[in-house]
């Protein structure tokens, strides 16, 4: 069991280069970032600043050109393919802008799939999926197919799928990009709630209102961490008015 505040994700001096020679693009340059258990980090930056590369590398979907990626203290670059897949199935949950739900499966089946792929029995996986959907207020929609759900509901199903099985790292790429502001806020509020329970999250977004749900906002520019916000102060400071 990890103690509170321990790094769930650690990127050490990550660089990523795509292409070669004249076509070479340096997407990330010497990026270091630690995300502690229970911490919600938002990553902001203009398009082309390396946000998505950072997320795919953090999710072990892609290797960096140099540097190290540690998930729960384990160096993923030294892992076998099988071990890496296990981490992707058990430890990391992904949320995408366009939800990426499988259209032929019901909401519950979409959520239980990663557990089943990981060897959980169909019955247990189904129960866990129902519980996760219930928590997100989608209990009554469990048997519906994605095209029978609204955009906001689909994204909540996707979040249920990302957190089911008590995964400790949630990675989200513009999770509310396709949603209106009320649904976008609901999505951030949910991710925030999971973080308070101990999940670590990295959320890429260009929307300052959504990013402000995070404990810490990291600004990328030209593939580098250009800046980040200070540690959160208490909310009471805002309401202290000079009298």
């Amino acid at each position: 069991m990890m103690s509170k505040g321990q790094a769930v994700l650690e990127l050490r001096s990550i660089s990523k280069v795509y292409g070669r020679g004249a076509a070479e693009v340096q997407a990330l340059r010497d990026v270091s970032l630690g995300v502690a258990q229970g911490e919600m980090v938002a990553v902001m930056g203009p398009s082309g600043s390396g946000k998505s590369s950072l997320l795919t590398i953090a999710g072990t979907l892609e290797d960096p050109t140099s540097g190290a990626v540690l998930v729960k203290g384990e160096d993923t670059l030294r892992m076998s393919g099988g071990a890496k897949s296990r981490i992707r199935r058990r430890t990391i949950g992904y949320v995408f802008q366009d939800f990426n739900l499988l259209p032929g499966l019901t909401a519950a089946e979409n959520v239980s799939l990663p557990l089943e792929l990981d060897g959980t029995s169909m019955r247990k996986a189904h129960l866990a999926a129902l519980k996760a959907l219930d928590e997100l207020g989608l209990g009554s929609q469990a048997r519906r197919f994605p095209d029978q759900l609204s955009g906001g509901e689909r994204q909540r199903v996707a979040i249920a799928r990302a957190v089911v099985g008590e995964r400790s790292l949630l990675l989200a790429d513009e999770p509310s990009g396709a949603l209106d502001s009320a649904n976008g806020e609901a999505v951030m509020r949910l991710i925030h709630t999971y973080c308070k329970r101990g999940t670590a999250a990295v959320v890429v977004t260009h929307d300052a209102q959504l990013a402000s749900w995070a404990d810490r906002v990291v600004f990328l520019r030209d593939g580098r961490v250009a800046d980040q916000t200070a540690a959160p102060a208490g909310p009471e400071t805002l309401l202290e008015q000079p009298s």
Partner: protein
């Protein structure tokens, strides 16, 4: 912000005492704008003078105080309705320190405008984080509070967006060979009508006033 009209609005429900008005004012504005009771009484006095409110059951003209209740008059109701329908004048851009700083930073040699922009962006987002934290435990029951928090977040967000847009515009301009010196020269190339202030390279076009 019009305390005057806020008090009229509260009195339009029923007659109220000064202290009660203060409490309700703060509750109705999401407790974001504190109001001292002295302000309430001064405002009530002026409203009474203008015939927009009247003391209730008051024979001798006493000083306003905790014992005195007020009701809204017909003239007060008309004034309130009129005020609500009158749009505030937004035609002239406010003199915004942050906008001025960026406009000036663009012109000063040796200044990294991106760094200036980022310092402001970080501060704005830190403020937004604080406002958002206020929403965390909000169950939506306090509608006024939620509206105030939203309005602050949208206001700060609009400034962040402007900074993003400014940075993008600056990058494109720089990629096209723009430099602070060139920018100034460009402004001097067209003397004529809008060069009333010598040396000023900031935009001089008259804005707003479209009716």
């Amino acid at each position: 912000m019009s305390v005057r009209h806020a008090l009229l609005a509260l009195l339009s429900e029923e007659p109220k005492y000064g202290l009660q008005l203060r409490e309700e004012f703060e509750a109705h504005t999401g407790e974001v704008w504190p109001l001292n009771v002295g302000q309430v009484y001064t405002t009530l006095q002026r409203l009474e003078r203008d015939g927009l409110v009247a003391a209730v059951g008051d024979e001798e003209p006493a000083e306003p105080g905790p014992q005195k209740a007020y009701r809204i008059t017909d003239a007060g109701r008309a004034e309130l309705a009129d005020w609500l329908r009158t749009v505030p004048d937004l035609s002239t851009p406010p003199r915004d320190d942050l906008v001025m700083k960026i406009l000036i930073a663009v012109r000063v040699p040796g200044i990294d405008v991106h760094e200036v922009i980022q310092a402001h962006r970080r501060y704005l987002i830190e403020l937004m984080q604080e406002w958002t934290r206020l929403k965390e435990d909000d169950d939506g029951a306090d509608l006024s509070f939620a509206l105030v928090v939203d309005s602050e977040l949208f206001r700060l967000d609009s400034v962040v967006r402007w900074l993003d847009a400014a940075e993008g515009r600056l990058r494109r301009a720089t990629a096209d060979g723009w430099t602070p010196a060139l920018g100034a020269a460009g402004a001097h190339r067209q003397p004529g009508a809008n060069s009333a202030r010598p040396g000023a390279a900031l935009p001089r076009r008259r804005l707003g006033v479209r009716r």
